[in-house]
Symmetry: C2
Subunit: 197 residues, 2 copies
DNA sequence: CGGAACTTTCAGGAATTACTGAAACTCAAG
DNA sequence: CTTGAGTTTCAGTAATTCCTGAAAGTTCCG
């Protein structure tokens, strides 16, 4: 089997990108191939098409499974295992966020917490701990936000993203809202909903 | 000079984390050291304290500068260049977001655009392009959101993050708002601002 | 149970990336 | 100019990571 130029270009680019992140070029290419494939592919076909050794593909798939990024499927009349990426692209983003959090953020938070607890032995230590505390707070804030957002369904998430920075205007709207219905008219509190949206 | 245990632990951890991202362990350690340091440090002091060769430090600092993550400073009465991280941690996040976008996201978007434009040579190509289009749209959406959010000042950003997923409730509030002031009372349209907040 | 079809593991070689020391370069002060 | 403190470059080596083929493992069927 041979790749079409479109798939090949994507696979190569994704491989390069993969190696800038934590995954190897090979793993990136396997993922890219599965991502654009019409049907689940068996390992030997992947090895064939990408010119990797069968064992390399096996390792790569194992890693992708550990990220929960591919699912495994058995096709009737074929003993081989077939692999596919998640179909819903938003689910892919959610999975990535979860896994990166588990692997990178959580351990970092735990180290930061430990170091902040230590008794400082010098003014330099006290300063360092201050910086670590800042970092810890920032990460926790981002994390709580991400947890929160993970709970939304996709439609809500998209709506939120589309709103972008204008959400701040909405926030101000809210602050002025309590005045409404207490004898003030909309004009009195200077609300123009359409402008906000 | 010798590192205190607190700084050393942080530097080591950050080095490991760095190597999971695109940067080398060395560069991660240099950054971590500068991040917790009370004062800007000259290159030779960094080399001394981390036990790296002077040239390795020079390379590392150059890379950090290319990320705009350290600034360079001349202290009176000292010919050496001194290096420091950005003081404002939110500015660090913004800078990181910008640089990663420039280095990873933008090139990917451009590849995706090109491939989507190609004339498909098969049904498989048509399917692949559909997937690429999905990915392209998703990235663009995230990107526009991030551009938008970058424009907010830090206080607004923090407020937004703290709001988290509850922003959706706010959005619903807005949808019900036009009824207000048109003869309906707050009770009629079932708004409880405090519950939302 | 035996064996075919398929998968995984693993030791070691290949390729890549990181790091060093020596040499070249820069620049300001004398 | 010249000197020397400081910085960068670069070629070669060290360290790491990646990839392979051979062998061992698993599973399912007859």
């Amino acid at each position: 089997m041979k790749l079409t130029p479109i798939t090949e270009a994507f696979v190569l680019h994704f491989g390069e990108m993969g190696s800038r992140w934590g995954i190897s070029r090979t793993v990136g290419q396997i993922y890219a191939l599965l991502f654009v494939s019409e049907r689940p592919l068996p390992a030997d076909e992947i090895a064939d098409v990408l010119n990797f050794s069968r064992s390399n593909v096996s390792m790569g798939l194992k890693e992708l499974q550990s990220w929960h990024l591919v699912r495994l499927q058995h096709l009737p009349g074929d003993r081989r295992e077939h692999f596919a990426t998640l179909g819903d692209i938003w689910q892919i983003v959610r999975t990535l966020a979860e896994e990166r959090r588990r692997r990178e953020i959580d351990p970092t938070l735990s180290v930061l917490r430990d170091l902040i607890m230590e008794t400082p032995a010098s003014p330099a230590d006290r300063h360092a701990q201050g910086r670590l505390r800042e970092m810890h707070e920032l990460i926790e804030l981002l994390l709580r936000w991400s947890d929160d957002v993970q709970k939304l369904d996709t439609a809500q998430l998209v709506q939120l993203l589309k709103l972008g920075g204008r959400v701040v205007a909405l926030l101000e709207l809210k602050n002025r809202l309590p005045l409404l219905g207490k004898g003030k008219s909309r004009a009195d509190v200077d609300i123009d909903v359409d402008e906000v949206l």
